[in-house]
Subunit: 205 residues, 2 copies
């Protein structure tokens, strides 16, 4: 441990509680060699009352997920929320296949912005860090065949903006400006930085 102390790093983190049902977020955290316990939350995903700037909206939802999470699982809790914004309009998860089709048609050939807010909270110390990261995403021009096939795959239905940048959704995107993982739903480098501020080092052994 003297090595990590010398470098100003911190304690090793082995497990986190995830206040999100997103399989992408779980997968991303697991790829960091963390054990992930998904914890239930009373937060209602329904965005019926969603209004305001996308940055603030994502942060409000991420904080609500963290606050309403049940007090189970590992001490370090991570919550996040992602919204997609195009021309001042905000896209959450589509309400069905027609809605998914309309969202993808709107995004086709254009650039939109993805906002992901995160909250990292240590129940042991009560300390918390939060932030919002945004990434610009350029879509290729999509044919109706492509949109119909992608919607039929079921992939868009549980995702803000009706697409996932991983898997076949990668074919939709020509370039991004910013952090890729923000588009997937969790800004990894920012979350790593927040954990370091709370005294945890993802590189410690």
């Amino acid at each position: 441990m003297s090595e990590t102390s010398r470098s100003g790093a911190g304690r090793r983190l082995e497990a986190v509680s995830l206040a999100s049902q997103s399989p992408r977020r779980k997968e991303l955290l697991r790829a960091l060699a963390l054990r992930v316990v998904v914890i239930p939350s009373d937060f209602d995903e329904d965005r019926a009352e969603a209004a305001g700037e996308p940055e603030q909206l994502a942060l409000t939802f991420a904080c609500a997920k963290a606050r309403m999470a049940k007090a189970t699982g590992p001490a370090v809790v991570i919550a996040a929320d992602t919204v997609v914004a195009l021309d001042g309009q905000i896209f959450g998860k589509p309400k069905g296949t027609a809605d998914a089709h309309a969202m993808l048609r709107a995004l086709s050939g254009r650039e939109h912005t993805v906002y992901t807010a995160f909250v990292v909270c240590d129940r042991g110390t009560g300390e918390e860090r939060s932030g919002v990261e945004s990434t610009r995403v350029q879509f290729s021009a999509l044919s109706d065949t492509a949109i119909t096939a992608y919607v039929a795959s079921g992939d868009p239905l549980d995702k803000a903006g009706a697409y996932g940048i991983q898997g076949r959704g990668g074919l939709l995107v020509t370039s991004i400006v910013g952090d890729f993982y923000t588009v997937m739903g969790l800004p990894l480098a920012r979350v790593g930085g927040a954990l370091a501020e709370l005294g945890y080092d993802l590189w410690a052994s």
Copy 2:
């Protein structure tokens, strides 16, 4: 099939030959619902004679992989090559842990460019498309603890520039400008476009 003809799309593609040993490229193509057959090639990965502009270099290597691939597997052959460039210096795969450490130290806190060239070739028609995509990658400032831990994970050793943007390597990168999959080793949207030009549609059912 009349639907795909009407939309100007093409035939459905079910399987490809991959003239590359990279497990990332295989995984990316599999995520597009393609069956992937890795085919052997006489191409020697050793970059001892690597010189020239990174764009040209990557394309030369990708073409060599495609040209020297054994004539087995599905008719559509995909080859690719990735190089990392910083200040006119080109980073291929590291020659060992010390080399990996030196590369990561050089990349720390700075922006570099990743070039991935691809060749898509249809053995049935003899037609071919190729191209190079580049993406700028900003690294966070890395502590020696982080570099040592990341090198010890073994992850850097088979990758150009000594890192993979997926998994724990995602913690190293704060932002990118361009296509994410170019950094992973295969520009998906560009390869999809090349396949469409050759008459194949990844969205056809």
